[in-house]
Structures are given as structure tokens and as C-alpha cells.
Symmetry: C2
Subunit: 186 residues, 2 copies
């Protein structure tokens, strides 16, 4: 086991075609549209689950990182979209906390129990999500885990703004498409 000190996570290759240097998306709409496009690509290319996320610098609207769910392809139950977006953003910015800046996380769906905790630790100031817990549980049958029933109050206490159900119709389509394609529910 002594040579097993290194863990690597690889995001899908198709992302290199989608991402260019210094991408700017000037509105919440444009940001979420981009996130949902990445999620759709993730299921079409079968590189993971129907979940995608991105972190933006709210000061200049620059895209910092994109994350998609790569749980199955990377054999890693931790590799949810929000988690991979956070890891990539912190790697890029060379810090374990984004709280010095003004960073927002867009997610195609409501974060699960694990990701709800991870967003706090990451130093994110604003969370915007599309599909909600009910959509995720009823359309594709994923469990959201032991999520704090008053997680929104917990976010408020920590000054994290939440925008729920943003572009919900489009976000729900992503879940429906995954179901249609017969994606794995784990």
C-alpha cells in the first residue's frame, strides 16, 4: 500500500472542447444555461450522472471551474458535480478557502447532504440551483442523504445566499433525459 499515496480524479475529455480561457457569463441565466449544457453533455457522453456545477467569480463573472458528476467513471462516490467544481476551483486559485473572494456556485440540482456541507467549507458565498430535492428523488430516484431539514437556516447563519429552483424546467429536463437514456441510479 506504500505506493498508494496519490489519488487522481479526471474530468471527462469533452470538457476540454467546451472550456476556453477566461470565459465570462454575464447573467445568472447564462451561467445556469452553461451548467445545464455541461450536464447534458455528461449524460450524452456517458461520463457520469445527470449533475453539473460551476463556480464563478461574482465580481467579474469569470468562470473559475466546472464540475460534473464522475462517480461511476472515476470509481469515486465523493465525485459529485459540486465537489469536483470545488476541488478544481481551489486547485486553480491555489487556496483551500474561497471566502476571501466573492464566489458563487451554480448547480444543476439541489446539493445532497455531503455537498451541502462541502459548499460551506469551500467558502462559497452564493448557491444557485435548478432542480430541487423532490425532482431528484422522484424523477431519477436518487437519495439526497441525511440533509439537515433546516439547511437553509444554517446557510443564512453563515451568510450564504440561496437561490432555489432557478430555471427549474430546463434543469428537470436533464434529469428526465438521464432517465430516458437508462442511466445508472446508485
Amino acid at each position: 500500500m506504500s505506493n498508494n499515496l496519490l489519488h487522481t480524479l479526471e474530468l471527462p475529455n469533452w470538457l476540454s472542447e467546451v472550456l476556453v480561457e477566461n470565459m465570462i457569463h454575464n447573467s445568472d441565466y447564462e451561467k445556469m444555461k452553461f451548467v445545464l449544457e455541461c450536464g447534458m453533455k455528461n449524460i450524452e457522453k456517458k461520463s457520469g450522472g445527470p449533475f453539473s456545477a460551476a463556480i464563478y467569480n461574482a465580481d467579474n463573472n469569470e468562470l473559475i471551474s466546472v464540475g460534473v458528476n464522475v462517480v461511476t467513471s472515476q470509481n469515486c462516490s465523493v465525485a459529485h458535480a459540486e465537489i469536483t467544481a470545488i476541488m478544481m476551483a481551489q486547485k486553480k486559485l491555489g487556496t483551500y478557502s474561497l471566502e476571501e473572494g466573492d464566489y458563487e456556485l451554480f448547480s444543476s440540482a439541489q446539493p445532497c447532504a455531503m455537498c451541502t456541507g462541502a459548499i460551506v467549507w469551500a467558502g462559497i458565498k452564493r448557491l444557485i440551483f435548478g432542480a430541487n430535492k423532490h425532482d431528484v428523488e422522484t424523477i431519477v430516484g436518487f437519495d439526497e442523504g441525511p440533509l439537515h431539514p433546516e439547511w437553509k437556516e444554517e446557510y443564512k447563519k453563515r451568510n450564504i445566499e440561496v437561490v432555489e429552483n432557478f430555471m427549474n424546467d430546463e434543469a428537470v429536463k436533464l434529469l428526465q433525459k438521464y432517465k430516458e437514456l437508462g442511466g445508472i441510479v446508485y
Copy 2:
């Protein structure tokens, strides 16, 4: 950003001196003792926070993986001890879910909100921890995040056994030592 599809996490080098092939620890006491030794080493070597974890195959008592907190050294707020132990175990076993087997996770301290979710997704069957939430919050001042107030009930529903405050005195010493050494609280 196109070359940024790869994320790597490295556990501290001193672990290669601690780990040998097929380590067996035959009791909960031996397992937790080993976990706490790793946590102590992590703070002495200043490779991260005062938290350590290990995953064992409960069927034959074989150590599958060790994780330590490498948040600061790896610039990754996700890299808690439980998370790194889970990632390493799944990498080693080549699966995103440990639920087919009978795996137990020993943690030097009570998992935070994020890790409480992650343990469920990982397919762990039994959680054993040393220091509790109160110890962590009062001795070193770390926040446990938006933890579900009835997380134990949530674990029970999912058939995950919990052993709390196991070797609590020794586990608390690890937190006290970190404080004495002036470790960062983030």
C-alpha cells in the same frame, strides 16, 4: 483551462513508512489506536489537521485505506480524513461503492456534515469515532457544519451502525495536542 481536467490529492509521505502490505488489526481497540497514531503523526509532521480515519474490511480485519486531513497542505477543503480514506479505499478496490462488502470506518473524531453524507454514499456499514462534536468544537474550535440533528436516526434507517466516543480520552488528546502546537483552525 482546457489542461485542467486532472485533480490530484497526495497523502503525506510519512504514511509510506507507517503502512505495510496486508495490515491486520484484530480489535476495535487496535484499529482506533492505529488511527490515532496516524492523526498524531499528521499534526507532528504538520501535514494537516488533527483528524485521521481508516477503512477496514470487517470480515478479515484487513486495513484497506488510511486517510488524514490534508486540507491546508493540498489546498482542498474537501480533503477531510474520512473523505481521503473513502477515496483511497474505492481506488484500491476499483469500485464507487463499498456496499457489497462489510466495511467499517474508524475516525478519530465525529464526522462533520459533509463527511456524514459521504459515509452514506461510500457504502460503509459501521462508523466508529473517538472525539465527539462537542470535543471538536470546544477544544479546537472547528465547526461541524450543517449536520442533521438526527443524523443517527438517518444512519439507522440506512442500516449503518454507529459507535460513538470510542477511546474518547485518547482521541481528545489528539485535539489538545493540535491546539498546544498552535495548529491552524480554518
